[in-house]
């Protein structure tokens, strides 16, 4: 108990806690104690009672993916008869229409992500980005590290070259997806064909070094143990000390339906405990995002008192989590109502968390 109190004291004095201290706090502290500490820290970083959100759309340029992650309900394997199977690569017309609609709805960015399609090389991505930039003045937040790593290997480039090429073609920032849990023993089990944790981190390091910002995510509630969660956050925190390139951290829970991993879904209390710990542990990341897509509107609103200061995206379109049987939808009006009812001022932001 004395040990726990000394960790709590450290947190309150805004001192950094290490992995073991984080783990002890996570395991032993009462639910509302974690909430209070995280809430305190949230107001320390963001004294104004503002909660931000972004208006954007997820565009999945392809669902064909060679990775075959066991937790994924979205992908279609390559080399199927695509008339029969549901594999696609987005057409220019569809892409245009989706972005046009996003702009019409006040959207400021698109989140462009897709599968690791074995037939697509760097030229495809350059063309995709160029096409968008020629037609729209919109922020492109795109290609998570596993995609960049895949393109790099496919096109025999270095990570740094790939990023530089994509940046020149119009890529503005990188989403923190595909991190799952940044521990290779777990990655071997859940996503053996995806980039390793050091490769994931290297993509982010190179992007940050070239002046690009990115977010970071963590998907938990599959095969990891508690300490993996803290190892993951420790790796993110260490890289952030070096680059200061991460804008936000977004923890979310694995959704087991329609996947190959048979585990019980994490409960809301477990989610909120991890969320609060991410606010307390990641002392060098400004923004912590609530995940209404996996948690629903009520827990997302509750999350605003457990360390989160951002509601993420209104997400005009979301396909990946929806494939795993979770189908929460929130309009901009509903999202801002939730924020207001919780006693905060809702403010639309851009990708860099600047208020619009």
């Amino acid at each position: 108990m004395d040990k726990l109190n000394s960790i709590i004291e450290k947190v309150k004095e805004n001192q950094r806690i290490d992995v073991n201290e984080g783990l002890a706090l996570f395991r032993q502290a009462d639910f509302l104690t974690l909430a209070r500490l995280a809430n305190h820290k949230r107001f320390y970083y963001h004294p104004d009672k503002i909660v931000t959100y972004v208006v954007d759309r997820n565009i999945n340029y392809t669902n064909i993916c060679a990775s075959g992650c066991r937790f994924c309900a979205f992908f279609e394997p390559p080399n199927q008869d695509h008339d029969r199977a549901k594999g696609y690569i987005i057409s220019k017309q569809d892409l245009f229409d989706k972005i046009q609609e996003t702009v019409g709805l006040g959207g400021t960015q698109i989140l462009l992500q897709g599968g690791m399609h074995p037939d697509l090389k760097i030229e495809y991505y350059i063309d995709l980005l160029t096409y968008i930039k020629e037609n729209f003045d919109i922020h492109i937040h795109g290609f998570s590290p596993p995609e960049i790593d895949f393109i790099t290997k496919k096109s025999s480039l270095s990570i740094s070259e790939t990023i530089s090429i994509l940046k020149k073609a119009g890529l503005a920032s990188i989403p923190g997806g595909g991190a799952e849990i940044l521990c290779d023993d777990i990655r071997q089990k859940v996503s053996p064909n995806k980039c390793s944790s050091s490769e994931w981190l290297e993509v982010m390091r190179q992007a940050h070094l070239q002046g690009m910002r990115s977010s970071a995510t963590m998907m938990f509630g599959h095969l990891e143990k508690d300490f993996h969660i803290f190892e993951h956050m420790d790796k993110i925190r260490t890289l952030q000390d070096e680059t200061r390139g991460f804008t936000a951290f977004i923890p979310w829970t694995f959704q087991p339906d329609n996947t190959k991993i048979a585990v019980k879904k994490k409960t809301s209390v477990e989610y909120l405990r991890v969320l609060a710990m991410s606010r307390l542990f990641l002392d060098n990341i400004d923004n912590i995002q609530a995940s209404w897509v996996t948690q629903g509107d009520k827990i997302a609103q509750t999350a605003l008192f457990f360390g989160a200061n951002d509601m993420g995206s209104t997400m005009i379109e979301e396909n990946v989590v929806a494939s795993a049987g979770v189908d929460f939808m929130l309009s901009k009006e509903e999202l801002t109502r939730l924020i207001t009812r919780a006693g905060f001022e809702p403010r639309q932001r851009d990708c860099y968390y600047h208020l619009l």
Binding site: L32, A35, R36, S268, V269, K298, I299, Q301, R337, R341
Partner: protein, 371 residues
């Protein structure tokens, strides 16, 4: 058992300093005032409020969180009251209208006879086709088929109606029902104990004076009841607090209330469908307000059907000590668009409780643990 105050009474315990006064009252065991109640509903310091409510909840029940294995029987949806907030009721000739015969009731009980059901929750509409004998028959049938389970049936609204139907006094009506097997009453039909809201939303239903009169008589007959508050429609904060204080006063007098259940209004398919759903902030505050204002109630329920399973789990740390039942076939709230499950298994219930950091206790209707 009184727990010591939350050890760390540092400044950061409350963001809203008004909560310090409420906390110190709670620690001294003083009753909260109407102004305190309003402050509880107005504060945006959800975690500060949660800590006070959790303190009271833990003083009363420690680490225990209760649930019951129950079955709902909604014997008819035909109702002459047609309250504006209700999506369940039908007129006699309307599509989807139904009334179960005694044989149908029997069939539904037998369908689940292998399950360890400990309580039958029986409520329905005011259906003019059913006579008083039907209700006596209903209770006797349930008792015959499920002798080990407790019958928790009929809101005050139904009791008033049955008394008219039987043409005898309220006391005699209650006695007849009790003799036929009625052991407990749920808390519905109170909505908000307020004339303005009564006029606007449920003018044909009994008013709040009558509701209180009936509950008083039921308690006097030795039957425990629950109490509820339907929130999230047109009621004001002050009206909510007045409602809680009215219940608290009656409880001082009768000691007949068992649990209080805040009911989140669902507007789907009702005449108030323009009203948006309650948010987590409303739901958690109502749980906490109930725990703090109703200092003479033993139990506060987080009714997962109405606030969702996920938030009900969180509510266990905001003053609730009971998740209600497994249910299986909830109808009334789902007709109004509830997106929660229609039932939870015992395993799901226990898993939710354990993962919230509490010890699950399966109970009977009177909060005795089942073994």
């Amino acid at each position: 058992m009184k727990l010591p105050p939350v050890s760390d009474m540092s400044v950061s315990m409350f963001i809203d300093k008004r909560l310090e006064r409420i906390y110190s009252k709670v620690l001294k065991g003083s009753r909260l005032s109407k102004e305190d109640g309003i402050c509880i509903y107005e504060t945006h310091d959800l975690i500060g409020l949660g800590q006070i409510a959790n303190h009271v909840r833990r003083s009363l029940h420690g680490n225990k969180a209760f649930y019951i294995y129950n079955q709902h029987l909604n014997y008819t949806n035909i109702c002459k009251n047609r309250c504006r907030f209700c999506a369940y009721a039908r007129d006699r000739k309307e599509k989807g209208a139904y009334a179960w015969s005694i044989e149908e009731i029997e069939k539904r009980l037998l369908e689940r006879i292998d399950e360890p059901v400990n309580e039958l929750h029986i409520v329905g509409g005011l259906n003019e086709d059913l006579n008083f004998e039907y209700f006596i028959d209903l209770l006797k049938t349930v008792k015959r088929i499920r002798p080990g389970a407790t019958i928790k049936a009929f809101t005050s609204v139904e009791i008033d109606y049955l008394s008219n139907l039987a043409g005898v006094s309220l006391e005699e009506t209650i006695q007849s029902l009790k003799n036929a097997g009625l052991e407990m009453m749920p808390g519905g039909g109170a909505e908000v104990l307020n004339s303005r809201i009564h006029e606007e939303l449920f003018p044909r239903k009994i008013n709040h004076e009558r509701w209180l009169e009936i509950v008083r008589a039921v308690h006097k007959a030795g039957i425990k009841t629950n109490a509820t508050l339907l929130y999230g429609h047109i009621e004001t904060i002050e009206e909510r607090v007045d409602h809680l204080i009215t219940l608290r006063e009656l409880q001082d007098e009768t000691d007949g209330f068992s649990a209080f259940i805040p009911l989140a209004f669902h507007s789907g398919n009702t005449k108030l469908s323009h009203i948006p759903p309650t948010t987590a902030m409303d739901d958690l505050k109502n749980v906490a307000a109930a725990r703090l204002m109703l200092d003479n109630f033993d139990h506060i329920k987080a009714y997962w059907v109405m606030i969702g399973e996920k938030l009900a789990q969180v509510a266990l740390s905001f003053g609730a000590d009971d998740l209600d039942g497994t249910i299986i076939e909830e109808k009334i709230t789902h007709m109004a668009g509830a997106t929660s499950a229609k039932g939870l298994t015992k395993d799901q219930m226990e898993d939710m409780i354990t993962k919230a950091g509490f010890e699950p206790v399966e109970r009977d209707s009177f909060y005795h643990p089942m073994n």
